[in-house]
Subunit: 144 residues, 2 copies
DNA sequence: TTGCTCCTCACGTCACGTGAGGTGGC
DNA sequence: TTGCTCCTCACGTCACGTGAGGTGGC
Protein backbone atom coordinates (compact mmCIF):
# COMPACT_ATOMS: atom_id res chain seq x y z
CA UNK A 1 0.00 0.00 0.00
CA UNK A 2 1.11 3.62 -0.51
CA UNK A 3 2.23 6.01 2.20
CA UNK A 4 -1.13 7.81 2.23
CA UNK A 5 -3.10 4.58 2.51
CA UNK A 6 -0.94 3.40 5.40
CA UNK A 7 -1.18 6.79 7.09
CA UNK A 8 -4.97 6.81 6.75
CA UNK A 9 -5.29 3.31 8.22
CA UNK A 10 -3.03 4.22 11.15
CA UNK A 11 -4.77 7.57 11.68
CA UNK A 12 -1.67 9.76 11.38
CA UNK A 13 -0.38 12.25 8.75
CA UNK A 14 1.50 10.80 5.77
CA UNK A 15 4.52 13.04 6.35
CA UNK A 16 4.93 11.46 9.78
CA UNK A 17 4.99 8.01 8.17
CA UNK A 18 7.68 9.32 5.80
CA UNK A 19 9.59 10.65 8.80
CA UNK A 20 9.42 7.30 10.65
CA UNK A 21 10.54 5.59 7.46
CA UNK A 22 13.45 8.00 7.14
CA UNK A 23 14.37 7.18 10.77
CA UNK A 24 14.53 3.49 9.82
CA UNK A 25 11.51 2.38 11.84
CA UNK A 26 9.77 1.20 8.67
CA UNK A 27 11.58 -0.23 5.66
CA UNK A 28 9.20 -0.36 2.70
CA UNK A 29 10.20 -1.59 -0.74
CA UNK A 30 10.29 0.97 -3.54
CA UNK A 31 8.38 0.80 -6.80
CA UNK A 32 11.11 0.77 -9.44
CA UNK A 33 9.02 2.81 -11.89
CA UNK A 34 8.09 5.79 -9.74
CA UNK A 35 10.00 5.31 -6.48
CA UNK A 36 6.76 5.15 -4.47
CA UNK A 37 7.16 3.55 -1.04
CA UNK A 38 5.35 0.18 -0.94
CA UNK A 39 4.18 -0.77 2.56
CA UNK A 40 2.77 -4.12 3.66
CA UNK A 41 0.33 -5.26 6.35
CA UNK A 42 3.23 -5.89 8.75
CA UNK A 43 4.16 -2.22 8.39
CA UNK A 44 0.70 -1.26 9.60
CA UNK A 45 1.10 -3.46 12.70
CA UNK A 46 4.56 -1.99 13.22
CA UNK A 47 3.26 1.56 12.83
CA UNK A 48 0.48 0.95 15.33
CA UNK A 49 3.03 -0.33 17.80
CA UNK A 50 5.15 2.79 17.22
CA UNK A 51 2.17 5.07 17.94
CA UNK A 52 1.22 3.25 21.15
CA UNK A 53 4.83 3.10 22.35
CA UNK A 54 5.09 6.84 21.78
CA UNK A 55 2.06 7.52 23.99
CA UNK A 56 3.93 5.63 26.73
CA UNK A 57 6.86 8.03 26.44
CA UNK A 58 9.34 5.98 24.43
CA UNK A 59 11.47 8.03 22.04
CA UNK A 60 11.71 7.03 18.39
CA UNK A 61 15.26 5.73 18.85
CA UNK A 62 14.14 3.61 21.82
CA UNK A 63 11.28 2.22 19.72
CA UNK A 64 13.78 1.50 16.98
CA UNK A 65 15.88 -0.50 19.45
CA UNK A 66 12.85 -2.49 20.63
CA UNK A 67 11.73 -3.28 17.09
CA UNK A 68 15.24 -4.29 16.05
CA UNK A 69 15.45 -6.56 19.10
CA UNK A 70 12.14 -8.20 18.17
CA UNK A 71 13.42 -8.52 14.59
CA UNK A 72 16.42 -10.47 15.96
CA UNK A 73 18.83 -7.79 14.75
CA UNK A 74 20.57 -7.32 18.09
CA UNK A 75 22.80 -9.50 20.25
CA UNK A 76 21.73 -8.82 23.83
CA UNK A 77 18.19 -8.30 25.14
CA UNK A 78 19.15 -7.28 28.67
CA UNK A 79 19.24 -3.55 27.89
CA UNK A 80 15.92 -3.74 26.07
CA UNK A 81 14.32 -5.55 28.99
CA UNK A 82 15.66 -2.87 31.37
CA UNK A 83 14.38 -0.09 29.11
CA UNK A 84 10.94 -1.64 28.78
CA UNK A 85 10.37 -2.20 32.47
CA UNK A 86 11.77 1.15 33.53
CA UNK A 87 9.50 3.04 31.14
CA UNK A 88 6.55 0.82 32.01
CA UNK A 89 6.96 1.63 35.70
CA UNK A 90 7.31 5.35 34.96
CA UNK A 91 4.21 5.24 32.78
CA UNK A 92 2.30 3.56 35.63
CA UNK A 93 3.32 6.37 38.00
CA UNK A 94 2.41 9.07 35.50
CA UNK A 95 -0.94 7.41 34.97
CA UNK A 96 -1.70 7.36 38.69
CA UNK A 97 -0.73 11.02 38.93
CA UNK A 98 -2.86 11.92 35.88
CA UNK A 99 -5.86 10.09 37.34
CA UNK A 100 -5.62 12.05 40.59
CA UNK A 101 -5.32 15.32 38.67
CA UNK A 102 -8.37 14.45 36.53
CA UNK A 103 -10.33 13.58 39.69
CA UNK A 104 -9.47 16.88 41.36
CA UNK A 105 -10.59 18.82 38.30
CA UNK A 106 -13.82 16.84 38.05
CA UNK A 107 -14.53 17.57 41.72
CA UNK A 108 -13.91 21.27 41.10
CA UNK A 109 -16.32 21.26 38.15
CA UNK A 110 -18.96 19.49 40.22
CA UNK A 111 -18.73 22.31 42.72
CA UNK A 112 -19.39 24.85 39.97
CA UNK A 113 -22.53 23.05 38.92
CA UNK A 114 -23.75 22.55 42.47
CA UNK A 115 -26.58 24.80 43.78
CA UNK A 116 -25.16 28.14 44.84
CA UNK A 117 -22.27 27.88 42.39
CA UNK A 118 -24.10 30.11 39.95
CA UNK A 119 -23.47 33.08 42.23
CA UNK A 120 -19.75 32.96 41.36
CA UNK A 121 -18.35 34.81 38.35
CA UNK A 122 -16.76 32.93 35.45
CA UNK A 123 -13.35 34.31 36.34
CA UNK A 124 -13.65 33.15 39.94
CA UNK A 125 -14.56 29.70 38.60
CA UNK A 126 -11.43 29.69 36.45
CA UNK A 127 -9.28 30.67 39.41
CA UNK A 128 -10.90 27.92 41.48
CA UNK A 129 -10.13 25.40 38.75
CA UNK A 130 -6.50 26.48 38.83
CA UNK A 131 -6.48 26.14 42.61
CA UNK A 132 -7.88 22.60 42.18
CA UNK A 133 -5.00 21.76 39.86
CA UNK A 134 -2.52 23.30 42.28
CA UNK A 135 -3.80 21.24 45.21
CA UNK A 136 -0.66 19.52 46.46
CA UNK A 137 -1.04 15.77 46.64
CA UNK A 138 1.35 14.38 44.11
CA UNK A 139 5.08 14.80 43.82
CA UNK A 140 5.19 16.78 40.58
CA UNK A 141 7.61 15.97 37.76
CA UNK A 142 9.10 13.07 39.71
CA UNK A 143 12.65 12.22 40.63
CA UNK A 144 13.93 10.60 37.47
CA UNK B 1 14.05 33.58 45.48
CA UNK B 2 16.53 32.96 42.64
CA UNK B 3 15.89 30.98 39.50
CA UNK B 4 17.76 27.95 40.83
CA UNK B 5 15.89 27.96 44.11
CA UNK B 6 12.54 28.17 42.32
CA UNK B 7 13.58 25.44 39.89
CA UNK B 8 14.67 23.15 42.72
CA UNK B 9 11.38 23.64 44.60
CA UNK B 10 9.36 22.96 41.45
CA UNK B 11 11.54 19.98 40.51
CA UNK B 12 12.51 21.18 37.03
CA UNK B 13 15.77 22.48 35.45
CA UNK B 14 16.58 26.16 35.94
CA UNK B 15 16.97 26.79 32.22
CA UNK B 16 13.36 25.70 31.74
CA UNK B 17 12.25 28.28 34.32
CA UNK B 18 14.25 30.88 32.34
CA UNK B 19 12.53 29.71 29.16
CA UNK B 20 9.04 30.00 30.70
CA UNK B 21 9.99 33.44 31.98
CA UNK B 22 11.16 34.44 28.51
CA UNK B 23 7.79 33.22 27.16
CA UNK B 24 6.04 35.58 29.58
CA UNK B 25 4.50 32.88 31.79
CA UNK B 26 6.42 34.20 34.80
CA UNK B 27 7.27 37.85 35.36
CA UNK B 28 9.86 38.13 38.13
CA UNK B 29 11.33 41.43 39.28
CA UNK B 30 15.01 42.02 38.60
CA UNK B 31 17.68 42.81 41.15
CA UNK B 32 18.99 46.19 40.06
CA UNK B 33 22.56 45.39 41.17
CA UNK B 34 23.13 42.12 39.32
CA UNK B 35 20.05 41.63 37.13
CA UNK B 36 19.18 38.37 38.94
CA UNK B 37 15.55 37.28 38.47
CA UNK B 38 13.67 37.57 41.78
CA UNK B 39 10.77 35.13 42.07
CA UNK B 40 8.08 35.07 44.75
CA UNK B 41 5.92 32.35 46.33
CA UNK B 42 3.15 33.08 43.82
CA UNK B 43 5.60 32.24 41.04
CA UNK B 44 6.10 28.79 42.57
CA UNK B 45 2.34 28.21 42.59
CA UNK B 46 2.16 29.48 39.01
CA UNK B 47 5.04 27.25 37.94
CA UNK B 48 3.44 24.18 39.50
CA UNK B 49 0.25 24.96 37.61
CA UNK B 50 2.25 25.27 34.38
CA UNK B 51 3.87 21.86 34.92
CA UNK B 52 0.55 20.13 35.66
CA UNK B 53 -1.20 21.83 32.75
CA UNK B 54 1.60 20.65 30.48
CA UNK B 55 1.09 17.02 31.54
CA UNK B 56 -2.52 17.46 30.41
CA UNK B 57 -1.39 18.46 26.93
CA UNK B 58 -1.82 22.24 27.05
CA UNK B 59 0.80 24.13 25.03
CA UNK B 60 2.74 26.96 26.65
CA UNK B 61 0.79 29.58 24.73
CA UNK B 62 -2.50 28.02 25.86
CA UNK B 63 -1.26 28.03 29.45
CA UNK B 64 -0.30 31.66 28.97
CA UNK B 65 -3.86 32.46 27.85
CA UNK B 66 -5.34 30.66 30.87
CA UNK B 67 -3.05 32.43 33.33
CA UNK B 68 -3.70 35.81 31.73
CA UNK B 69 -7.43 35.14 31.95
CA UNK B 70 -7.14 34.29 35.64
CA UNK B 71 -5.03 37.44 36.09
CA UNK B 72 -7.93 39.46 34.65
CA UNK B 73 -5.84 40.55 31.66
CA UNK B 74 -8.33 39.43 29.03
CA UNK B 75 -11.80 40.58 28.03
CA UNK B 76 -13.73 37.40 27.20
CA UNK B 77 -13.58 34.08 29.02
CA UNK B 78 -15.67 32.11 26.51
CA UNK B 79 -12.70 30.94 24.47
CA UNK B 80 -10.78 29.96 27.60
CA UNK B 81 -13.74 27.97 28.88
CA UNK B 82 -13.99 26.20 25.53
CA UNK B 83 -10.26 25.46 25.50
CA UNK B 84 -10.29 24.11 29.05
CA UNK B 85 -13.21 21.75 28.57
CA UNK B 86 -12.08 20.50 25.18
CA UNK B 87 -8.62 19.60 26.49
CA UNK B 88 -10.07 18.15 29.68
CA UNK B 89 -12.30 15.81 27.68
CA UNK B 90 -9.42 14.81 25.42
CA UNK B 91 -7.23 14.15 28.46
CA UNK B 92 -9.97 11.93 29.92
CA UNK B 93 -10.08 9.90 26.69
CA UNK B 94 -6.30 9.59 26.54
CA UNK B 95 -6.28 8.47 30.15
CA UNK B 96 -8.84 5.74 29.50
CA UNK B 97 -6.83 4.56 26.52
CA UNK B 98 -3.58 4.62 28.51
CA UNK B 99 -5.18 2.60 31.32
CA UNK B 100 -6.31 -0.09 28.89
CA UNK B 101 -2.84 -0.21 27.33
CA UNK B 102 -1.22 -0.53 30.76
CA UNK B 103 -3.63 -3.33 31.68
CA UNK B 104 -2.88 -5.27 28.50
CA UNK B 105 0.85 -5.03 29.14
CA UNK B 106 0.43 -6.11 32.77
CA UNK B 107 -1.60 -9.11 31.63
CA UNK B 108 1.13 -10.02 29.14
CA UNK B 109 3.78 -9.80 31.87
CA UNK B 110 1.68 -11.98 34.18
CA UNK B 111 1.66 -14.63 31.47
CA UNK B 112 5.46 -14.54 31.32
CA UNK B 113 5.74 -15.16 35.00
CA UNK B 114 3.07 -17.87 35.01
CA UNK B 115 4.20 -21.51 35.28
CA UNK B 116 5.29 -22.76 31.86
CA UNK B 117 6.26 -19.28 30.74
CA UNK B 118 9.88 -20.00 31.53
CA UNK B 119 10.07 -22.31 28.53
CA UNK B 120 9.81 -19.31 26.20
CA UNK B 121 12.90 -17.39 25.08
CA UNK B 122 13.45 -13.76 26.02
CA UNK B 123 12.98 -12.68 22.44
CA UNK B 124 9.67 -14.52 22.16
CA UNK B 125 8.58 -12.75 25.37
CA UNK B 126 9.46 -9.40 23.80
CA UNK B 127 7.49 -10.22 20.67
CA UNK B 128 4.53 -11.27 22.84
CA UNK B 129 4.70 -7.97 24.70
CA UNK B 130 4.58 -6.14 21.39
CA UNK B 131 1.62 -8.27 20.34
CA UNK B 132 -0.09 -7.30 23.60
CA UNK B 133 0.42 -3.64 22.81
CA UNK B 134 -0.86 -4.17 19.29
CA UNK B 135 -4.05 -5.88 20.50
CA UNK B 136 -6.75 -3.78 18.85
CA UNK B 137 -9.25 -2.42 21.35
CA UNK B 138 -8.84 1.30 21.29
CA UNK B 139 -9.20 3.70 18.42
CA UNK B 140 -5.59 4.86 18.17
CA UNK B 141 -4.64 8.53 17.84
CA UNK B 142 -8.27 9.60 17.83
CA UNK B 143 -10.24 11.78 15.46
CA UNK B 144 -9.23 15.26 16.57
C1' DT C 1 42.45 35.61 44.14
C1' DT C 2 39.13 31.68 44.27
C1' DG C 3 34.80 29.55 43.91
C1' DC C 4 30.09 30.04 43.48
C1' DT C 5 25.79 31.63 41.35
C1' DC C 6 23.82 34.16 38.29
C1' DC C 7 23.65 36.45 33.47
C1' DT C 8 23.12 36.62 28.05
C1' DC C 9 23.86 34.98 23.56
C1' DA C 10 23.98 31.30 20.41
C1' DC C 11 23.76 27.01 18.44
C1' DG C 12 21.85 21.96 18.76
C1' DT C 13 17.95 18.50 19.12
C1' DC C 14 13.62 15.94 18.75
C1' DA C 15 9.50 15.13 16.38
C1' DC C 16 7.27 16.87 13.56
C1' DG C 17 4.74 20.94 10.12
C1' DT C 18 4.63 23.27 5.74
C1' DG C 19 5.48 24.55 1.59
C1' DA C 20 7.96 24.53 -3.35
C1' DG C 21 8.90 22.40 -7.41
C1' DG C 22 8.95 18.01 -10.05
C1' DT C 23 7.45 12.99 -11.75
C1' DG C 24 4.14 9.28 -13.32
C1' DG C 25 -0.27 7.03 -14.58
C1' DC C 26 -5.56 7.53 -15.62
C1' DT D 1 -3.81 18.43 -21.41
C1' DT D 2 -5.75 17.99 -16.68
C1' DG D 3 -5.98 16.34 -12.13
C1' DC D 4 -4.34 13.29 -8.88
C1' DT D 5 -0.83 11.04 -6.03
C1' DC D 6 3.47 10.47 -5.10
C1' DC D 7 8.50 12.24 -4.75
C1' DT D 8 12.64 15.11 -2.68
C1' DC D 9 14.68 19.08 -0.75
C1' DA D 10 14.50 22.72 2.42
C1' DC D 11 13.16 25.71 5.83
C1' DG D 12 10.06 26.56 10.16
C1' DT D 13 8.36 25.38 14.95
C1' DC D 14 7.89 23.94 19.75
C1' DA D 15 9.97 23.03 24.03
C1' DC D 16 13.65 22.45 25.52
C1' DG D 17 19.35 21.04 26.02
C1' DT D 18 24.07 22.57 26.11
C1' DG D 19 27.75 25.08 26.09
C1' DA D 20 30.76 29.68 25.94
C1' DG D 21 32.12 33.71 27.89
C1' DG D 22 31.16 37.33 31.39
C1' DT D 23 29.43 39.64 36.08
C1' DG D 24 28.87 40.09 41.25
C1' DG D 25 29.27 38.98 46.24
C1' DC D 26 31.49 35.94 50.12
Amino acid sequence: MTVNELARRAGIPAHVVRYYTQCGLLTPARNSRNAYREYRETDLRRLRFICKAKTMGFTLSEIDMILKAADDEVSSLDGIRELLFRRLEQHRRELTSAERLQQRIMDAIDKWNAPGGAAVTERAKLVRLIEAVLCEDDSGPGLT
